[in-house]
């Protein structure tokens, strides 16, 4: 498919976060955040589905209609009242399989649908969704916000991912974009994006470390800056370490307290847990700015309060903060630099507001970290800069990123042969020639893994490539050249060629995790249909709200003196129009409702005019 950059084709930058997501764009003066419909810049990465009700009455025309998908702040409220229909932190599940997430399931109220062995499915009420589909709801919200802001269609985006995301997690993110109706021009690593935002008015040359501790992931990247080139020297991290872990730690303590104080196990009460979780998060956010605070909960007439001071908080979270330091040291070593050579350290992600995190980073790097830019926004701003680079608006900057994990293939004895080493600049490629081991062999199976360990079983299986329909030849005579290429998104592309004939070698690809192309296509199809259905429902709802307004106004006007000044015929026309509007009110055709609203408008024009005259007198 060819990308057409028309004049109106705007590329937005999106930070698809564990806790919050936001979008930004490149303005003439630099990157800017796109505000949401509710005026908030952050869209909480929370998705809720309202239950479907067979009979929709007039009251149903209010806030949220049945079966509707709610995203962001509104969904976060629904986390309290319909927790079993609401999901948060879904980023933790992106590109993962059922066996990987057993630990997460102990800590997060994910409702895994039956039959999730092949592809992970979440149960939200009576519907099931894969993690990319849930993420797509968040992306679609951001897309709509951008469209409302610009008053034009937005179809292309740069989306950020944790630098330490593996191939499957990246692919899942790209799938989410496609399902949301966005062409994902590039996946950018979050710390590198942040450096682009920071680099705008900073030093021209030097070594910079970006420490990114978000809601669910941790990344450290070390870059060399040189006249607009941002060359990543090394990256490291943990895709399951972040503010969520602190929340869960405090939540466990609070649950234990409640158990002993109230004699109640709140952990089995999902609303209770969510209320307590919110109280815990509030206390966590406060303690970064005040020396002491309290976790407070009032629930079903009972009160719980636990005071927390900075000292205790620091002591509790020290193990979590320390888990970030090992990857930092490894990264410095891999980058081939010493601590003294690092000129600047940039802090990214909401969790870097915690004073202990700041002081730990300052101690390790022996320099005061930068915190000038809002750590929640800097990644989205950087994504917008990258969007500007891709659209040609930004000419002087170029990002040279690396692959975070080594890529290898399985060889004899379950051992890994590394083809592309971690921290290689991408795009990176490797070529291997394969042959057959048995006379007349038609297939060769290549198992590709990602990771640093020596044995296949200790690494992450990425995909199995089945080279098929090989010409039947004596063993060892067939020669198939396979090219492994990691593109600028950090995603693997494999092509194969028969060396003897020069023809392209056909193969089947079985990703170990995640969705096949066909599955994504099907989801896109469904989401388009659902979006159309949702759109139609929204129009009907809006028409009904409009009808409510005019009906109420006319009802009031009928008690006004001006009404009695109308002729009998004029009054009869109004009654007729009201009746006709009420008749179509419950239909699902917004055009009809609109038409009757207009009719009522027409026949009440004189009434309205007379009323206006009356008020002037």
């Amino acid at each position: 498919m060819e990308i057409d950059f028309g004049t109106t084709n705007r590329v937005i930058g999106i930070d698809l976060g564990t806790t919050n997501s936001l979008a930004a764009f490149m303005d003439l003066t630099g990157p800017k955040i796109i505000p949401g419909a509710d005026g908030d810049q952050l869209v909480p990465s929370v998705v809720s589905i309202n239950p479907r009700q067979p009979n929709r009455d007039r009251e149903g025309a209010g806030a949220f209609a049945s079966g509707e998908i709610v995203v962001g702040n509104a969904a976060r409220e629904l986390l309290l009242t319909q927790p079993e229909r609401t999901v948060y932190s879904v980023k933790r599940l992106m590109g993962r399989g059922l066996e990987d997430i057993q630990e997460e399931l102990k800590l997060f109220p994910f409702h895994i649908a039956p039959g999730s062995e092949a592809v992970l499915q979440l149960q939200l009420g009576d519907r099931t969704y894969t993690p990319p589909e849930i993420s797509a709801f968040v992306l679609r919200q951001l897309k709509q916000n951008a469209e409302a802001y610009f008053g034009e269609l937005v179809t292309q985006a740069v989306i950020t991912v944790p630098a330490y995301f593996n191939d499957a997690q990246r692919q899942a993110t790209k799938d989410a974009g496609r399902i949301a109706g966005l062409e994902v021009l590039r996946l950018v690593n979050e710390p590198t994006a942040a450096s682009l935002a920071y680099g705008l008015d900073k030093r021209e040359n030097g070594i910079v470390a970006v420490y990114d501790l978000g809601g669910g992931t941790f990344d450290i990247s070390i870059l060399k800056l040189h006249d607009g080139i941002f060359e990543v020297l090394a990256t490291n991290g943990d895709t399951h370490l972040g503010g969520d872990d602190i929340d869960n730690l405090l939540l466990r303590i609070a649950l234990e307290d409640v158990r002993s104080e109230w004699g109640e196990d709140l952990s089995t009460d999902s609303e209770g847990v969510q209320r307590l979780r919110r109280a815990v998060i509030q206390a966590k956010e406060q303690i970064s700015f005040v020396p002491f605070t309290a976790i407070e909960l009032e629930y079903h007439g009972k009160k719980y309060q636990r005071e927390i001071n900075r000292e205790l908080f620091d002591k509790l979270i020290t193990p979590i903060v320390n888990r970030t330091l090992g990857p930092c040291r490894d990264c410095i070593q891999d980058a081939g630099v010493t601590v003294d050579q690092i000129d600047e350290v940039v802090m990214v992600g909401g969790s870097t507001r915690i004073p202990l995190v700041l002081s730990a980073v300052e101690a390790l790097f022996r320099t005061k970290p930068h915190t000038e830019l809002n750590p929640d926004e800097v990644v989205a701003l950087g994504a917008a800069v990258q969007a500007g680079i891709l659209s040609g608006e930004v000419q002087d900057k170029l990002l040279l990123d690396v692959t975070p994990l080594s890529l290898g293939i399985e060889i004899m004895g379950g051992v890994v042969s590394k083809l592309i080493h971690r921290n290689s600049t991408i795009p990176a490629s490797a070529t291997e020639t394969f042959t057959t081991g048995v006379d007349g062999q038609r297939n060769v199976l290549i198992h590709v893994v990602q990771g640093e360990r020596e044995l296949v079983k200790d690494n992450r299986s990425l995909a199995r490539f089945d080279l098929k329909d090989i010409d039947p030849l004596p063993a060892g005579l067939a020669r198939i050249e396979v090219r492994f290429l990691i593109d600028a998104n950090g995603i693997l592309n494999v092509t194969a060629r028969d060396v003897r004939t020069g023809a392209e070698q056909s193969m089947d690809v079985k990703p170990s995790y995640g969705l096949t192309d066909e599955q994504v296509e099907k989801m896109i199809q469904e989401s388009v249909e659902k979006a159309e259905q949702d759109f139609a429902e929204r129009q009907v709802r809006e028409a009904r709200v409009e009808a409510d307004t005019i009906l109420a106004a006319v009802e009031k006007a009928r008690r006004h003196d001006a009404y009695f000044e109308l002729s009998d015929a004029e009054r009869a026309d109004i009654d007729k129009a009201i009746n006709e509007l009420l008749l179509v009110y419950h239909s699902d055709q917004h055009n009809l409702i609109k038409q009757k609203i207009e009719q009522l408008n027409q026949v009440t024009l004189k009434l309205a005019e007379n009323m206006m005259k009356g008020t002037k007198l």
Partner: protein, 179 residues
Amino acid sequence: MTEYFELLGIPRSLHLSLDLLQQRYYELSRQLHPDRFMRSPEAERQKALDLSSTLNDAYRTLKNPLKRAMYVLSQEGFDVGEQRSKDVPPELLEEVFELNMALEEMRAGDDSARPQLESAEKNFTRMLSDVDRQLEDLFEQYDRAQSREKLSEIRGVLNRRKYIQNLVDEVHKSLVPSP
């Protein structure tokens, strides 16, 4: 396959200016990186992807003196496979024999071998820097004459270096057990 020196536009030599290499790499990256071809037709974008991945591979290879030498050796038809570095250099036979015994004791949980291993680590690390100086000289000599004999000599020293490096790594691993 595009020749690495040619792609980067620098003379083929075992010694080179890293500043110039970086400068050329950055210039070419600005021209060839896929970011620059987003509006281009599919075929051109594919070409940019291929070329920039080759450019990255070339830079990675040439900026490291050992990888650079291995690359030149393989370009000149020398076998630089892994197995060649597994033969013990004759002059090290005795030391390696003793070292292996100490390593075995250490692995069996006998900490009394620690001082011996620590001194071996120091010893072999010193040997590494000696080898590196020797390589420096050889690289310079090769760059002057570019003879096959010199390359053959360099290959011998590289194998020896690889062998010693493996020893250092192994001793280091036994002293600082991985978590």
